[in-house]
């Protein structure tokens, strides 16, 4: 691996949104590395670019400038179809709004990434059951999302995120729509997944959950502002070259 155990590497990444009259710099000069097995969180005030950063890392969006390597492979210039394939194989998402598909059962929601990945039915069934067991939702696999509580839905979303055994889990405000009890439970689940070896990058603005992450990256006005974190990140980069 070119970057040692750096799973994600961003170099000089900028993201600019253009409208008819103005351009908005959502992210500026982002240099960042996430190590394999790390549980990192991105914090910052509303509008600082946290979600944009997560979208870039999740290949939901493309940077205006800069390079992005995932597991040592450049993913900056992939076609939409190739990006979809990378998302499917290597990235798992957990959204604030759960984003489960209401017309699919719990099992079908979890199975969906494997269908798109062309996995055969038997393997899908096995992997989906295992993922649901991991999050403690195997007893609800025939339910529809509307029949679940918020916490349960987020567990299912987590199962869907891990079912394909991705390289990294991206969690965007995973507790944002949950009460504190369910929020705690979801964070505990993420911690458990991390303990089992998952690499996690989480966006949050809730300081209560900072303790769950090993490393905190602070963003302000689209820049990484936390010197220590940045130095640490750069140091990692230098160390691994």
């Amino acid at each position: 691996m070119e970057q040692g155990n750096a799973l994600i590497r961003l170099e000089g990444v900028n993201k600019i949104f253009y409208t008819e009259e103005m351009e908005t710099h959502a992210l500026s000069d982002i240099d960042l590395q996430i190590r394999d097995g790390e549980f990192a969180e991105v914090m910052g005030p509303s509008g600082c670019g946290k979600s944009t950063l997560l979208s870039l890392i999740g290949l939901l969006d493309t940077p205006t400038e800069g390079g992005y390597w995932l597991n040592g492979e450049s993913v900056s210039d992939l076609s939409p179809s190739e990006r979809a394939e990378v998302r499917n194989r290597h990235i798992g998402f957990i959204f604030q709004a759960f984003n489960l598909i209401g017309d699919l059962t719990v099992f079908e929601n979890v199975e969906l990434p494997l269908i798109y990945g062309g996995v055969d039915a038997g393997t899908r069934r096995e992997a989906s059951q295992r993922a649901l067991e991991r999050v403690g939702m195997s007893h609800r696999m025939d339910h529809y999302p509307s029949q679940l509580s918020g916490g349960q839905r987020q567990r299912v979303a987590a199962a869907r995120a891990v079912v394909g055994d991705p390289l990294i889990l991206l969690a965007d405000e995973p507790t944002g729509n949950l009460d504190s009890t369910n929020g705690e439970a979801v964070m505990q689940l993420l911690r458990d997944l991390h303990a089992e070896g998952s690499t996690i990058l989480m966006v949050t603005h809730d300081p209560r959950y900072s303790a769950y992450a090993e490393r905190t990256i602070h963003l302000f006005d689209g820049r990484i502002t936390d010197e220590e974190a940045e130095i640490e990140a750069l140091g990692l980069a230098q160390a691994s070259v």
Partner: protein
């Protein structure tokens, strides 16, 4: 495959989850596919099935054309036949055919009327058909003086001869002549058009001059590897040589070779069939547009689902495929219902054309090709309705979609423009179809209320044919007609009777004539008018008053002064002083010129041009059977005014005829009302089809407009809430909400009128006394569409009054 099955399962689930949307989509698809399938079945039956023989597409017709004389498909003379047959290098075999009626007296001694054909002896060889019993014709049987033989159809064999194998070798009387049955054709074989029995066509060119004599359509089979074009070129070369060699008989004539079945569908009918198919596809497109609009509306609320699928790794094509499969499930169900509509449509169509059976190869049913068409139509409809919404649904930025909370999004605005364009297109096509339907309604209404200038009630009609063997000359036929007419007139239940060459409204033939005292520079300048050959009592039977002068009398015989009656249009067109009585004219037939006839009476126009020939002159004249029996020929129509139900007269007329000649069958016995219905079936059938298209289009367009307006109102709840909060009154908001719909309606109508003005021309042949650009219909349709569109816009627009400002603002 696994993913496909999952997508189908999900599609079915979505169908159940949104029953109203699904139902509307299925109905829209079903109506569109049903009508398209019905019309395609008609087009398929009429044009694509072809002859049901081995390698039938290699069976061709050969005609002679002469553009200068406006002969589009003329027969082949026996002289030319022999030349073509012996000199061509492109046909395996070449023959001739002719149609004719056959009076058959079989084992039961009862005369019956059949359709027959005379064919050259090689018919079965050309068509690659073998008789089921006995043999085909032998070459020597087409020679002059050969033993008279015949082949009977399978159906005649079963019905008339109980399917007995003993029928071979039996002698029967056909048209008064004994013939020996030598074979039985296979079941369903009715070549060339609707024949039940066949006799050899005698090929004896020397019997006539080269420029005279009968002409027959030619037919043959292309040699293997020979194309139609090569055969055409081959025959054209022979034609040129004949033209140079025999200019007096062949100048301007050239042979054409074309697929055998082509002659039955003229250019106008061809245009009509495809206009009809176009109209049906128009309905299908409206259905697709409706479904597309529904899907656009649904796509707006499924943006997030699509984004989630994409985020977890679905490629765009996988999502588009899944969305298309969802539509595919709807269109497949719609298509299945559509095929049922097609089956019902075919049952109706077959009933409607039963009185005028088409050529034997034209069968109208749902066959494999039609099913394939319906399947393709369903698939294409799914793509047409679903592809654009699916592409739109998947082109939104993922980040935007995942974070969009469903407030009036930019994609909603973009889709608004697309749905507007769809509604405009829908209204335009509906407008065009409604105008076509309006023209048809007017046409059919005119046919129903048609004021025929002759009696229709209590009139019995029939036809009979005198075989040449028993009635070899005009005198024999005249004697028979006179005797039969006298007996008819004294038959109980008959008040008045007549014999004629045709019935009113059936359309009389055209003949060339010249008026005394008028100078015609060349023969081609002689005028042509409709000719009726009738017995005394014709006008009394049909209760048509003689307006001036007198009707025909029994004294108007060949021994006396030739006389004629003319109709009003004839007087108007040919006598400048407006006086017909006393004027003289004479008729021409080929090289023969008849004696001058004096006009002794003027009668009303009795639809001599036939029903629906709007562009043809109704001018015509009548001459007496006794004076022109040689022109009349062997077939006459019977007309009798009855005291009771004309339907009950057939048996009595048969008895009267049998007493005079037991070998003569009475056929086509029906009331005059049935004759009129028969003459107008074409207008009624195709008119009904177009009316169905129009009303279906109107229904679908109204549903489409309603759906789009409903969606628009629901999408603009927040905007309406703001406007209400700012003090807008309810009626103003309703007007505001309706404005967009009405604008779309207006643009659609304008485009629709332009479309209709261009597209209704081919309809003229099925319009009865209606101009294809009738301003009343155009205006009426605009009003009707505007009204229906306004209602379809108003109902959803009214919902803005139910919006609570605070709730709308909060709901965003």
């Amino acid at each position: 495959m696994d993913g496909f099955i999952n997508d189908v399962k999900f599609g079915i689930r979505m169908l159940i989850k949104s029953p109203v949307l699904s139902l509307i989509a299925i109905v829209a698809f079903a109506l569109g596919i049903g009508l398209t399938t019905t019309v395609f079945s008609i087009v398929n039956g009429a044009m694509y099935k072809g002859l049901p023989f081995d390698d039938a597409d290699r069976v061709v017709s050969v005609w002679r054309v002469n553009p200068e004389r406006e002969i589009e498909r003329g027969g082949v003379t026996l002289y030319d036949y022999v030349e073509y047959r012996d000199q061509n290098s492109s046909l395996e075999a070449f023959g001739l055919w002719s149609n004719g009626a056959v009076n058959l007296v079989g084992a039961d001694d009862k005369p019956e009327r059949y359709q027959g054909a005379r064919v050259t002896a090689n018919m079965f060889e050309i068509l690659r058909v073998a008789p089921v019993l006995g043999r085909g014709f032998l070459p020597e049987e087409e020679e002059p003086g050969a033993e008279p033989v015949m082949i009977i159809g399978y159906e005649v064999w079963q019905e008339k001869f109980d399917g007995s194998p003993e029928v071979i070798g039996r002698t029967v009387r056909t048209n008064g002549e004994p013939r020996t049955i030598v074979g039985v054709a296979p079941e369903g074989f009715k070549f060339p058009i609707e024949a039940d029995m066949w006799a050899p066509l005698e090929v004896n060119p020397l019997e006539h001059d080269r420029d005279d004599g009968p002409q027959f359509p030619g037919f043959g089979r292309l040699k293997p590897g020979v194309s139609l074009d090569r055969a055409s070129a081959d025959f054209a070369t022979i034609g040129l040589r004949l033209e140079a060699e025999y200019p007096e008989s062949n100048e301007g004539f050239s042979p054409i070779v074309e697929p055998f079945t082509k002659f039955t569908i003229g250019n106008e009918l061809h245009a009509l069939l495809f206009t009809m198919l176009g109209a049906a596809i128009g309905v299908l497109l409206i259905g697709c547009a409706n479904v597309a609009n529904l899907l656009f509306a649904r796509a707006a609320v499924r943006e997030k689902e699509v984004a989630v699928r994409s985020a977890i790794g679905a490629k765009r094509k996988q999502i588009v495929r899944q969305l298309l499969i969802e539509v595919g499930v709807l269109s497949a169900i719609g298509g299945a219902v559509g095929v049922l509509i097609g089956i019902a449509g075919m049952a109706w169509f077959n009933r409607a054309v039963a009185t005028n059976p088409p050529p034997f190869w034209m069968t109208f049913d749902i066959d494999g090709r039609v099913l394939l068409f319906a399947t393709l139509a369903s698939g294409l409809a799914a793509v047409a309705a679903g592809l654009f919404p699916a592409l739109r649904a998947t082109d939104k930025g993922l980040n935007e979609a995942l974070n969009d909370e469903g407030r009036g999004s930019s994609s909603g605005l973009r889709m608004g423009r697309v749905t507007s364009a769809i509604v405009i297109g829908e209204v335009a096509v509906s407008c065009g179809l409604l105008i076509a339907a309006g023209l048809m309604i007017k046409s059919v209404a005119q046919l129903r209320t048609i004021d025929m200038p002759f009696a229709i009630e209590n009139i019995f009609t029939a036809r009979l044919n005198l075989p040449e063997t028993d009635y070899p000359d005009a005198d024999a036929r005249t004697d028979f007609y006179r005797e039969f007419l006298q007996r008819l007139q004294t038959t109980p239940g008959i008040e008045a009777a007549t014999l004629s060459d045709g019935l009113p409204a059936r359309g009389n033939g055209l003949r060339t004539f010249e008026i005394e005292g008028v100078d015609y520079p060349t023969e081609r300048d002689y005028p042509r008018a409709r000719e009726g050959i009738v017995t005394p009592g014709y006008f009394a039977t049909f209760q048509a008053p003689v307006l001036e002068g007198r009707p025909f009398e029994f004294a108007d015989t060949g021994d006396n002064l030739p006389v004629a009656l003319v109709n009003r249009s004839f007087v108007r067109e040919y006598f400048e002083d407006g006086v017909g009585i006393g004027k003289r004219f004479r008729i021409h037939q080929g090289n023969d010129v008849y004696d001058w006839m004096t006009v002794v009476g003027v009668v009303p126009d009795m639809k001599m041009e036939g029903i629906g020939n709007n562009d043809q002159s109704p001018a015509g004249y009548y001459i007496a059977v006794d004076q022109f029996a040689e022109i009349l020929g062997n077939t006459v129509s019977v007309g009798a005014r009855t005291t009771g139900d004309p339907g009950a007269m057939a048996a009595r007329v048969r008895e009267t005829l049998a007493a005079l000649d037991p070998n003569l069958p009475v056929y086509d016995a029906m009331s005059m009302q049935a004759v009129i219905d028969d003459a107008t079936w074409f207008y009624r059938v195709f008119g009904t089809l177009f009316m169905t298209f129009g009303f279906t289009a109107l229904f679908l367009a109204a549903v489409g407009l309603y759906g789009v307006m409903s969606f628009s109102v629901s999408q603009r709840r927040r905007e309406m809430g703001i406007r209400m909060a700012l003090g807008a009154k309810e009626d103003r908001l309703i007007r505001f909400a309706m404005r967009r719909g009405m604008r779309q309606l207006a643009i659609g109508i304008v485009i629709g009128i332009a479309l209709a003005a261009l597209a209704t021309k081919p309809l003229q042949i099925i319009l009865y006394e209606v101009d294809a650009r009738d301003p009343v219909i155009f205006g009426g349709v605009v009003l009707a569409l505007a009204l229906v569109g306004a209602i379809a816009s108003y109902i959803p627009a009214r919902r803005v009054s139910r919006i609570h400002p605070a709730e709308a603002l909060q709901s965003g």
